[in-house]
Each structure stands twice: as C-alpha cells, then as structure tokens.
Symmetry: C2
Subunit: 265 residues, 2 copies
C-alpha cells in the first residue's frame, strides 16, 4: 500500500496523479489539516509533524511513503529515512529531474512556501547536476491560504500572483517549478502571468511518474490488497467544509474524508 | 499571574492592552504558532487545543486565564470553565458590552474568522440584551494570514478588505466589532474602508478594560510575584522570524519569544 501525507489537502494533487498513474495500487492518504499549514513554520516543528504522520501511515499498512508536500520534503526527508525502514519518496527530486530535462536555456525559476525556499534545496539539487544553471527562487507564502480558501480564480489572487512573479518575469526563465503541491490548482493563472513560453513543472505529476518507474523497477514490491471497502482511504486530522470542497475540486468527484480522533496520540 | 493564550501572535494585541491597563500584574503568554491558525479549523480541534494551552498556563502559575482569541473564545469557553477551577475571561462579552453601549442605531456589524462567525455567538450575546438590534456578521478568513505575513498596508490587503466589507458598507452600520485579535493591526485600513462615522470596537482593548475592572472588584486576588527575571514571559509553540517581527510591531519594542519544546506533551 502506498502511504501519502501532506500538511492538508494540497497533497491530494499528488494522490490524484498517483491514482491516475497507478490505478491498481491501493493508497492511504493523510492530510494534517489540524496543524496546517506547514510552510510558515520552523524546520524543527515540520520534522516532528512529518515523523508523526509517517508513523500513522506505517501503522495503517503503508509499505512506501510519499511526502506529498514540498515543505516537508525539503526539511524532513533525511530524518524520515533515518527513522523508517521503508522507501521514502519526496516530491523535490522528481521535479528537479524534469526541470533539468526540459530546460533548454538553463534558467529555472522555483516558487514555493517560505520554508521550502529558505531550505535552498532546489538550487542545491539542480547545481549538483548542472552547476552552470541559473536558479531563481521566490517564496510565495500566501498562495497556500488562497488555495485553501478556494480563491482559485479571484482578482485578488491574480494580483498577489502578479506581485510574487514580478521579479521572475524579468529573468528570461524558460522553466518554472511549481514547488508546492497546492500550486497545480493555480496552474492556469501562473501560466498566464509568467508567459506561455515558460514550461511549468508540476511536482505532483512529476512525483507520480517517478513513483511509477520506481515501483516498476522494484522486484520485491507486492502491493498489499485493498482495505475491505476496496477504496483508497483519505484520512484527515481535522474535518472542515473547505477541505471537503477542495478535495472534490482536485479529484473531480466527492471524496469521503475520514477524520482521525486524538492524533498524534 | 495572568495567563493569556492565542492561536499565534494576534493575541499579543490583548497582551499589550493588558500590559498598559495593568502594568503591575505579571503576565504569561502562550502563542500556539505550531498549530496556527485556528479560525479555519473545526470546533472539536479548537477546543482540544484550547484545553492544552490552558493546562500549560496553569502549570506555569496562571491564576486567571484570558482567551485572547475570538475563535477559541467562541467555541471553547464553556469547556475551559468546566475543566479548570479558575476564572476564564473571553474576548467576546467585553466587545459585545462595548458595542451595545456605544451603538446609537442598533445596527452592528461583526467581522471575524469563519469559525467565529459560524458559531453565531456575537448575534446571540447581543440579542440576549437587545433583541431589537440588527446584527450583520461577515467572515473574513484571509485577514489572519495577511496579518501574519506582515501585509498590513499592501494594496492587495486593501482590495481583499474591500471585497469582505462590501456588503456591510450598504447596511448603515454605526458600529463594527473587530471580532478577531489580529484585526487591530488593520484598524486604520478598516476604518478608511467602512467609513469614518462607524465606531470600531477593538475586542483587545475592550477585554483589557474588562479585566481591569474584574480584578479591581475581586478581593481575594493577589497576583503572584514576577518570575525571577521580573519580566512578562512570552511563550510560543514554534519560533519563526515572522512571529518575532509581528510581535515587535504590536508592542513597539523587541519581544523575546520563548519556544516550548515538545508541546503539548
């Protein structure tokens, strides 16, 4: 069973891409809505929450973990790999790989939460492979709140995006990485704002493709059968109307969100 | 010692007003930044967090608790009064009292987070005393995120405020309650937007005044002496640069935020 966690509902863009890429693989999702968002918090706190989320998924049968949150991927991956003896997939390397493959000019922009951008992990991973590439990082902290409010196509969201993308627009980028799993919901607005010629890299899709090849190459992986219900399960640490609404928007169908009591105890 | 808690730094507007009203009373603050914001979460989760915050303050010597968060006040006050055998002061009743005293026309607007507005507690408390008054509630969910980002005077913040206050502007209000402890930081923008003739009720100030009269009337209250340092202490469940920045803005001086490890365990 594939375990996927995120700070809230943004990671469902990853879950949906995984469902589409790997329809036969049972999937267990955990959205930590009760402590959302992560991107404004310190690395120490994000690591602690990520360990608790992973523990929950493992206890409920996950054999492989996908950190469907760029913030948690950027600061907590090493720690999860130390603590848990199963494969830990993060969303950053697949996006970096795709960005490097698709960029022609080597001028790559990265947008993400404050914690992700502060970690510097995208630049680091790109420069390990392509030291000559120019990387332009930009923190866009309010976008997660705007998406979680469902303000996907509002004038104010466009204005805030304009402010955030202003500097990047003058950098002759040919590639822009959406370094937050909430951002695919704003893909159209971002494409319009940054310009049609810039290739957007969706870390959710990139991760699902990577997971598919990873599992394809892994001989010893036998997915455990589905839970009784035969359906993928979507757990949340808090249940809100807004979450239910965004989940339906992401999947294009109603998703039953299952609240966990007394998490993380 | 007066214990004050909030979901983050917004409640510091209450702490500051209390410092000014009651300079001789030692004060212990807890900002639950690690799980901030509360206003987008369910009542069940907000109650659980409020109990944990109160327990921390009591264990550290608080003899009276101020819930410096309208969201927590609106859903968790009854539960805290059941569980803890000390006075629990909330921020809603003092604001309601001031609004009723100052309104001439009985047309009162209320702005707050989604959880506060959904609770209906302002209407309920106003109607208990003034059934003939007209109350106009409006949820403004993004304002907390904007304040926590420090976007106090940005054009986008003004536009979002314009959208939120649009309906209220046509209701001939004479009084508007700032039903969230973050909103005093936006007081000027709100006053400009809603019009000079509308009286703004700041729940932070109202609560500090109420606390002063409450303690003045309470014969058996002897404030415990200050902690060794002789200073009020400001604890946070997570330490971020943004929080330090907003705290300085609220108090007009640098505030040392003390991070708590392993909260709430």
């Amino acid at each position: 069973m594939i375990g996927i966690f995120d700070s809230g509902v943004g990671g469902m863009t990853v879950a949906r891409a995984v469902e589409q890429c790997l329809p036969d693989h049972p999937l267990l999702y955990l959205g930590d809505i009760a402590r959302s968002p992560y991107g404004t918090k310190s690395a120490r706190t994000i690591i602690e929450y990520s360990v608790e989320n992973t523990r929950f998924l493992v206890q409920n049968g996950a054999q492989i973990i996908v950190i469907a949150c760029n913030t948690a991927s950027s600061v907590a991956t090493d720690r999860l790999r130390q603590e848990f003896n199963i494969p830990i997939i993060e969303v950053i390397s697949p996006a970096v790989q795709q960005a490097i493959t698709r960029s022609r000019t080597g001028r790559i922009g990265i947008i993400g939460t404050r914690a992700t951008i502060r970690s510097g992990i995208y630049e680091e991973k790109i420069r390990q492979q392509k030291p000559e590439y120019k990387v332009f990082p930009k923190a866009c902290p309010l976008l997660v709140s705007l998406v979680e409010e469902g303000w996907i196509n509002k004038r104010e969201t466009k204005m805030i995006l304009r402010r955030y993308l202003h500097d990047l627009k003058n950098q002759q980028l040919d590639t822009l990485v959406l370094g937050c799993t909430h951002y695919p919901l704003l893909k159209q607005l971002i494409q319009t704002r940054i310009g049609k010629k810039v290739t957007l890299i969706d870390s959710s899709e990139a991760t699902a493709y990577f997971l598919k090849s990873y599992l394809g190459a892994k001989e010893d992986y036998q997915p455990k059968p589905h839970h009784d219900s035969g359906q993928n399960r979507y757990f949340v640490t808090d249940l809100t109307e807004t979450a239910t609404h965004i989940a339906a928007k992401i999947f294009g169908r109603n998703i039953e969100l299952l609240p966990i009591q007394n998490f993380p105890n």
